[in-house]
Amino acid sequence: MSGERSKKLPWLMLVPAIAVLLVLGVFPLIYSAWLSLHSYSLLDPSRGINYVGGENFLNTLTSGHPLGISFPKSLWLTLIYLGGCLAGEVGIGLLAAMLFSGEHRRGLRSLRILMMTPMLLAPVVVGNIWRYMYQYSFGLLNFLLRTVGLPAPEWLAKPTWAMISLIMADVWEWIPFSFLVLLAAILSIPQDQWEAANIDGAGAWQRFRYIMLPWIKHAFLVIILIRGIDLIRVMDLPYVITYGGPAVSTSVLPFNAYMLGFRYFEIGHAAAYAYLMLALINVFVILFINVLRRRPENA
């Protein structure tokens, strides 16, 4: 490869993709930053775009008008949602992965393929399926609860139950993800590790603690970071299942940002909101990128 030409050639190939992402990603971000410092209502464009400094940020962080919920309160709801979802996904996923890592997994392949579908199905579809399950009078969940003699809650009408409903739907959708990732990690543990443990007479807990856990730590981190980022970013399930309600009890951050921009048409406000979210997401993204870089050989 001769000097000058081989220096230019890679850039020639990189530039189209860089250009596309600059126009579609970076420029809108800069535009957003500018908007976040201005007041701009699409409902009343005649008022124009006026510089307001940090007012949008201040208002978002304190009163939260017109949402009815301030950013810190919504952040708290989002953290509850995030914590519940991650605990359920990782907990059930790990249990399932440990079950399936035995030698009995042959012949169940078609079932496993079927099991992958929820996480690849559009979240909006998943949301609708669960809204149907949660219906008070004719929903399947309440039918089952009544059959075994338990009280049937009004899933979507009570604040706490609405949050639980959201978490359950999300956990159902994403169990396959943590299940498959953890299963891959468990199956990558070399057989001789288990044999050595057997010779040493290690009990079930010791085998879990000293052999399995170190080998699947990386997979855990990957699951928590990828899902964490998406749970803060994406509003599909809250939009479809509870629409932020009842009142504002499930108004998580991305849903509020959507409402500000496209229901109240407070563009500047929404941009400020989005930037606060972006700061939060960046923490997760930086952690994830570090995890990618430190990827162990076996993963």
Partner: protein, 277 residues
């Protein structure tokens, strides 16, 4: 003898455990499948009815009442467009990232990846204002372009990983035979990477198909895709559960076929290569 008998019992218990786990887990899908062929007057009955004469009226009503198959066509057009651009640009970009030395060789791949995590609200709001200025709101081109924000970084990153897995010795051998750099890509890497490219394309297609927020904001009526139509089943006075269930089945069946092709690569794709399945 006694031990073998004990093993057999354990095995049977485990298999029953698996089947139970699957049955519980997949029950919501079965339930919605049942609703899709249930007569409307039975859907809201309590307790639920499990035995009835199946009907296919909902699948017909999807078109007559909801124009749903038109939305399917919109989704197909949008997802195909996004996939085509993502994978096409992705191959060229990934090749440059994987096979050349240039300044920023560690930073640039990660910059590409980081775009995958942009919160849609932060980006789509200004994009909406931009597209409005060019009268592009509610056009295929706007949604196809905006859907690139998550799918293009994803495709570049995944293909970059796949190309890195192909040993460089193959390139060198071809170069000795007198191939130029682009010939190496065309004659050696593309044929070897063909299955990986197919996997990337299917993922990009599914992600674009599932995208909700972007088309919710950028479409009005003409190019509304399936996901936005789904949110619409509830905006009516009465929620159409039969129609919704039938529509879910229309989405589920082709997805299931795609997953049978994809299933070996699902872990790698969904973790962006952080875990190899």
């Amino acid at each position: 003898m006694h031990k073998e008998w004990k093993n057999r019992v354990i095995r049977i218990v485990l298999v029953l455990g698996y089947v139970f786990f699957f049955a519980v887990y997949l029950f919501p899908l079965a339930w919605v499948g049942l609703t899709a062929v249930k007569p409307t007057e039975l859907i809201m009955s309590s307790p639920p009815v499990f035995r009835f004469q199946p009907i296919f009226e909902h699948f017909i009503r999807l078109q007559t009442e909801w124009k749903f198959y038109g939305r399917v066509l919109n989704s197909l057009i949008i997802s195909s467009g996004t996939t085509f651009i993502s994978v096409g640009l992705g191959i060229v970009t990934a090749f440059a990232l994987s096979r050349y030395n240039f300044r920023g060789k560690t930073f640039i791949p990660i910059w590409f990846l980081s775009n995958r995590f942009l919160p849609a609200v932060a980006v789509v709001l200004p994009l909406f204002l931009m597209f409005q200025k060019f009268r592009l709101v509610d056009t295929y081109i706007a949604v196809i372009l905006a859907n690139l924000i998550p799918t293009l970084p994803f495709s570049i990153w995944l293909l970059y990983g796949f190309l890195n897995d192909i040993p460089r010795e193959l390139d060198d051998a071809a170069r000795v035979d007198g191939c130029g750099n682009l010939m190496v890509l065309w004659k050696i890497l593309l044929p070897i990477a063909a299955p990986s490219i197919a996997v990337t394309a299917i993922f990009a297609f599914i992600f674009s198909w599932n995208e909700f927020f972007i088309p919710l904001v950028l479409t009005r009526s003409r190019v509304v895709p399936v996901t936005v139509a789904f949110a619409g089943f509830k905006q009516q006075f009465r929620f159409d559960w039969g129609g919704m269930s039938a529509a879910a089945m229309v989405c589920l069946v082709p997805l299931f076929l795609m997953v049978t092709v994809l299933h070996k690569h699902v872990v790698r794709g969904m973790t962006l290569g952080a875990v190899k399945g």
